[in-house]
Each structure stands twice: as structure tokens, then as C-alpha cells.
Amino acid sequence: MMNKFCEDIGEHFGHYLALFFILGFGITSFVFFQRTPQMQIVSAFLTTSFYVLWGIVHHYIEKDLHIRVVIEYMTVALLGFLILWSIIYRA
């Protein structure tokens, strides 16, 4: 089970590295701008947008890109963005 998982990570190492970079940069900027809510919203929006873009590029390279897949990424990204936006709004 773990072997298959590690194989998949190794096979797409570059892709996941890019994903970790996007998300790491997003978290860092989000925390860095914790006294500037407008910048936090911009950080959250850019990070979620780049995440969707990452999904599209990844599936395009893997040749299994489909509108359903894009919608799945967009739905999760939307949920993530709305959660962050709500917390910023309430904070």
C-alpha cells in the first residue's frame, strides 16, 4: 500500500514539489500578512487559483485532463478560499 503511494510520489516528484512550493508560499504569505486582511484575501485567492492551475497542468501532462476533473479542483479550491475568507472576515 505504502509502496504504491511512494511510487506515485516518486513518479510525479516534480509536480508535487511545485504543489508544495505553491502551498508553502501561500501559507507563508497568509501568515506574514496577518495584520493586513486585504493582503490575506489576495494571498488566499492567488494560492487557490494557482492550485487549480496546478491541477490542470498536472492532468494535461498526464493526458487525463477532463472538465469533470477541473470542476473537482475548482470546488475544493472554492471551499478552501471561502473558509479562509470567512476566518479573515471574522478575525
Partner: protein
């Protein structure tokens, strides 16, 4: 049971993907979260005493926790002094009015000016500041973790304390300020050194003392303590939703991926990592800071 299995666990019956992480499942969760936020807004307006925007910090609790910590290290407890509490409230009001987050105001007004303006003649004095904390325990913990603030909390020379907790907008951000002032009345103990301490750097005590200006009982600052805050409820809801989704995506990664079942789907590992990032960001969205 079958419904729960379909909802949370991938198997033949749900086409090897838990329904909650399918597009429509996540969409329903998103919609529910939005509707809950709208409901929360209405509830806040309708019952402000139950859900308020103020933090759950009261000056009394800060004083109580300070004395509990002092008792643990066998340091005598501090007496609450109304003048110090009023000085703390005025300091917080000054910070909001002149929009600064510092011990000394932009015009050069030191913390000790707030003592003397109210006629508090001090021998020793100190100040701790905190902002953006939601509960008193976190404030005390943050001060305890900082050597200079800790020194103020456990200073044996201090005999009295005053605390104010005030909500307002500081540098464009809704903020809860906690101002904690320590003092020892002039002549209360044999003087060895007359150096008041902020958490950052000491300032020399002025020799001349003004006449007392204080005639009436002064308030201790705002003490609106709602039962719970919308931020805490939003965070709790977000953590539950994110926790469930991360868990189901993790099951998907470790149960379905090894079987190599062909399906048109997003990468569950990527979705899981993204939601984990949202969880971490939510946790660190607005942390308290001390000065």
C-alpha cells in the same frame, strides 16, 4: 449504515470514491458552510449577548491568572488598583487614538505618564501589552514565554496591578488590546532602585510627582464577555469540515490508489495536501502578539 459507507468510504457501490469527496458532495458542503455563515451573521445581530465580536478576555481573569502564576513561584499576589486599571484603559485608548502599537507613543509619551497623570505615585512600575488574543490563558502563556514579560509577571517589587481589555481598530485591523500595568506605591518598600520596566526597556522614574487627579470610582475598561465569538465558531466549523475531508481523501489515497482502479478523478493526495494547507493557514490566520 450503508448511507455512511457510501458517504465516507470508497467501494464498488459508490464507484470507488466516497460520495463526500465527489464534486457534488464538496459543493453541498461548501453551500452548507456559506449558509451557516449567513445564519451566524443574523444570529450575531439578533443575539449579540450570546455571540459577540469581543474576545473572551476580562481584566479580572488576567489578574487572577497572573496571581496564580505568581503563587506557583512563591511570589506574593498583586492587589488590584483602580487607578492602575484606569491608567491601563487610558493607555489602550491612547493607542487606538494615535494608532500605535508600542510602549511609547509617537509623541514620546511613556507608559509612566499614564500613572502620574492619574496621581499614582509609584516607586516601581511596569507594563505588558498584548493584542489579538481570544482567551486570557493564551495571553498569560505568551507573556510567560517571553523573558522580559515573564520578569514583569514575577517581579517581587510589584505590589499592585491594573488591567484593561479594550476592543477597537488599530492600524486598520479590528483588535483587542490587553494592557497590564504593575506598580508599587511610592514609599511602600525601602527603595533600592527606582527603575520601572516595560517588557522592552526600562525608563527612569520621574522624581516630581503630580497631584492626584482622581476623585471617582473609575471603570476597569470594557468587560463585554459574550458566551462565544463568531470567529471561534467559524474556526471550529472549518476544522470539522476540513478534518472530515482530509480523512476521507487520506482513506482514498491509501485504499483506492494501490488497487489501480481506473477512474476519471482529481489527485486525492493533492486535494488532501491542499486542504491541509488551508487547515494550517486557518490556524495561523490571526495570532496574538505581545509587546
Amino acid at each position: 449504515m450503508s448511507f455512511l459507507l457510501n458517504l465516507f468510504f470508497p467501494h464498488y457501490g459508490n464507484n470507488h470514491k466516497a460520495k463526500i469527496i465527489k464534486t457534488h458532495g464538496i459543493f453541498i458542503l461548501t453551500l452548507s458552510f456559506v449558509l451557516f455563515q449567513v445564519f451566524l451573521n443574523f444570529f450575531v445581530l439578533a443575539r449579540p449577548s450570546v455571540l459577540g465580536y469581543s474576545s473572551n478576555i476580562s481584566p479580572e481573569k488576567i489578574i487572577e491568572l497572573t496571581n496564580i502564576e505568581r503563587a506557583r513561584t512563591n511570589v506574593s499576589p498583586l492587589r488590584e488598583n483602580r487607578l492602575l486599571s484606569e491608567a491601563a484603559r487610558q493607555k489602550a485608548a491612547d493607542m487606538f487614538a494615535f494608532n500605535y502599537w508600542a510602549h511609547v507613543s509617537p509623541s514620546g509619551r511613556t507608559p509612566w505618564a499614564f500613572f502620574t497623570d492619574l496621581g499614582y505615585k509609584y516607586q516601581y512600575a511596569g507594563e505588558n501589552l498584548a493584542r489579538d488574543f481570544s482567551d486570557p490563558e493564551s495571553v498569560i502563556k505568551a507573556w510567560l514565554n517571553s523573558p522580559s514579560h515573564r520578569e514583569n509577571l514575577f517581579n517581587q517589587k510589584y505590589q499592585e496591578i491594573g488591567v484593561a481589555v479594550v476592543d477597537g481598530t488599530l492600524q486598520g485591523v479590528e483588535t483587542t488590546l490587553v494592557v497590564q500595568l504593575f506598580g508599587t506605591p511610592y514609599g511602600a518598600i525601602a527603595p533600592k532602585s527606582s527603575t520601572p520596566k516595560t517588557a522592552e526597556k526600562p525608563v527612569v522614574v520621574p522624581i516630581e510627582q503630580p497631584e492626584p487627579l482622581f476623585n471617582e470610582i473609575l471603570s476597569k475598561g470594557q468587560e463585554t464577555v459574550p458566551v462565544s465569538s463568531p470567529l471561534d465558531i467559524t474556526k471550529a466549523t472549518a476544522f470539522v469540515i476540513l478534518g472530515i475531508l482530509i480523512g476521507v481523501f487520506a482513506v482514498d489515497v491509501f485504499v483506492v490508489s494501490p488497487k489501480q482502479i481506473p477512474r476519471l478523478s482529481s489527485r486525492s493526495f493533492a486535494q488532501m495536501v491542499f486542504l491541509l494547507a488551508v487547515l494550517v493557514a486557518s490556524f495561523f490566520a490571526k495570532q496574538g502578539s505581545i509587546l
